[in-house]
Symmetry: C2
Subunit: 369 residues, 2 copies
């Protein structure tokens, strides 16, 4: 095999393929990127058995062939080469020579025989949205998936298509994040749970441009994303997702409108006094025209007042400050509305159209105060 690339093309494509390379594994082949130039295009493939990525690379094929290279070394070499043409050549023992200007690397290659190619999805069932939109949907929900694997379904996000709406949901037992967008067409109903890891990785390689499209395909066990020169295939998480609609309610006793940035900086300041892992709640006292935030810990205490608009009853309620911070950070609106019922019922941060809904359970503060 003998291939010639521009360094910049190589860096970009290796960067994409790296996202599905297994970090820790007992199978060395999963730590490789497969360079497949057996036809008239060059493809880089990586696959950690959950997530697989295939990307077409701009380059010249001087001699066809296939080789699997250790992804970490290959990517580091490529990144550190001078900005010029790069030649990749393998001999009969799969020893691979990477040459650029006067630099010449030799690294061992493996045959592609044991390599797992991406599964082929027999489906034409596809939804098109902009890369920008998908990236935003992920950013605005991914923080509330569960970190531990105790409940596998909580480590993924629900992608639900109904008529012409896509709804993305994540939850971890203390909070729910929901983002909803209108689709251009109407599609058959679909409910799948996509692993959080897949969404994190794909979000890193999306351009984030409004004008770049991404096609999303669904099959029984897989979801496939096609965009630019890249195909990403991921397993789905098995099982029926939580019924969240019965947890959502539009009744409320108190509605607060507040400047998001002010609210966020204030909670941010308050958390200085809370050590990692300590479960001190922030206590919010809502009255006409003003909200007082208060936190008490072994390190000290903090009090701050913020101007608000209030409709309905006065209320005093406690929250884990991290949950408020996580939600506030991803909301782009300058002003937000918070809906409350009583100190034991969840609060909702949502906009008029309900394109986003963040449900957060309160903390009982009488016992900890």
């Amino acid at each position: 095999m003998k291939l010639v690339f521009d360094k910049a093309d190589l860096v970009k494509s290796v960067g994409i393929a790296m996202k599905a390379v297994s970090g820790k594994t007992t199978m060395p082949i999963l730590e490789c990127i497969l360079i497949d130039a057996s036809s008239n295009v060059i493809k880089f493939t990586s696959n950690d058995m959950e997530l697989g990525i295939e990307t077409i690379v701009t380059g010249m094929i001087l001699e066809r062939g296939i080789v699997a290279l250790d992804a970490k070394i290959f990517s580091e070499i490529v990144r550190k080469l001078p900005d010029n043409q790069v030649t990749i050549e393998t001999d009969e023992n799969l020893v691979t020579t990477i040459t650029c200007e006067k630099a010449k690397f030799n690294i061992p290659g493996q045959s592609g025989e044991d390599f797992s190619y991406l599964p082929i999805l027999e489906t034409s069932d596809c939804v098109s949205i902009s890369q920008f939109t998908l990236k935003e949907l992920i950013r605005q929900t991914i923080f509330s998936i569960a970190a531990n694997e105790n409940n596998k379904l909580m480590t993924g996000e629900l992608f639900e298509i109904k008529d012409n709406t896509l709804r993305v949901v994540s939850l971890d037992g203390h909070r729910i994040a929901i983002r909803r967008i209108e689709l251009k067409d109407s599609y058959p109903d679909r409910k799948v749970v996509v692993p959080g890891k897949t969404l994190n990785e794909i979000s890193k390689i999306l351009s984030g441009e409004m004008d770049d499209q991404i096609d999303i395909y669904f099959s029984e066990n897989h979801i496939m994303f096609k965009f630019d020169d890249t195909t990403v295939v991921s397993r789905l998480i098995d099982g029926e997702y939580f019924r969240i609609d019965q947890m959502l309610s539009s009744d409320y006793e108190t509605k607060v409108t507040i400047n998001k940035k002010e609210f966020l900086s204030c909670i941010d300041r308050a958390t200085l006094l809370v050590k990692e892992g300590d479960k001190k709640p922030i206590i919010i006292d809502i009255q006409d025209g003003a909200m007082e935030l208060q936190i008490n810990s072994a390190m000290g205490s903090m009090k701050e007042e913020i101007d608000i608009n209030k409709e309905g009853k006065d209320i005093m309620i406690g929250f884990n400050p991290k949950f408020l911070i996580d939600a506030l950070r991803v909301i782009d609106d300058e002003e937000i509305s918070i809906y409350l019922v009583n100190p034991k019922a969840p609060c909702f941060i949502r906009n008029e159209e309900e394109s986003y809904i963040y449900l957060i359970l309160p903390v009982n503060f009488n016992s900890v105060r």
Copy 2:
């Protein structure tokens, strides 16, 4: 005590004082910054018993007093306050209230009684240089002090004044770094060993401006730096520093002139194939007009040629690539000269005026090749 500051002044001064706050200690008072407004200026002092810093803070004294505050909490609160006027007030129990706009923090304070003030140096023996120069002297030598404490003297740097020259030296048993500058005046001879930690911390608070001066005072056991509104006092390391002059020689068999950036990138690429802690040398083969660099490891091999100017004999010599990288990174010259004798003798990277000299011991590569 009641003081009023601009947030920006407070942030700056707390940042300076933080540099001498003890990280781990059994004496809580060493984790504090002392706010001393007992006279008509406000001073922040910190002291970890090795290194002490005192800085004068711009602010208004509404009521005189002294309080010691936990440095970490105090600095975090100050940094996260809104950009506005900050009031710091203590009550009779030393509970300290920090107020800014509508935010109000209460943290416990301690009396300043147990606090160790900076030692007073009875000396007028002082050298003046620009902050830029001191910062550069430190940056260009600090990397070759020893990391471990087996030999205390190696963890510091020699500051040697002779006539009108200041020479700064560091060494770790494998290499020596020397920087020399001319002073404007002639001073009495001086040889002191300054702890590396002191130099690292001071270098972070120096402005680095050519026009800003710093005065350096010496006493039997201490060195003192005075600049802007800040005084830094550090203990010296006891003992006689190594006699380095007998290790320096200007004889050579081979002189190589090379583009620094090319040489550095090439070694940088080669080290990709060396795992952390692995002692693979880079082998350099110097011939007329070209130098070939080569490295072989379990991960693969790399070869690269660089154009050079050579005087004298051909030579093949091995080095720990990290030592070459460390020295090359801090040299600002575009072209550098390397002086070699034989594969077992140290090499010297130095300029004509010898304002810098980097001595690096070679590695025996026959045994490891």
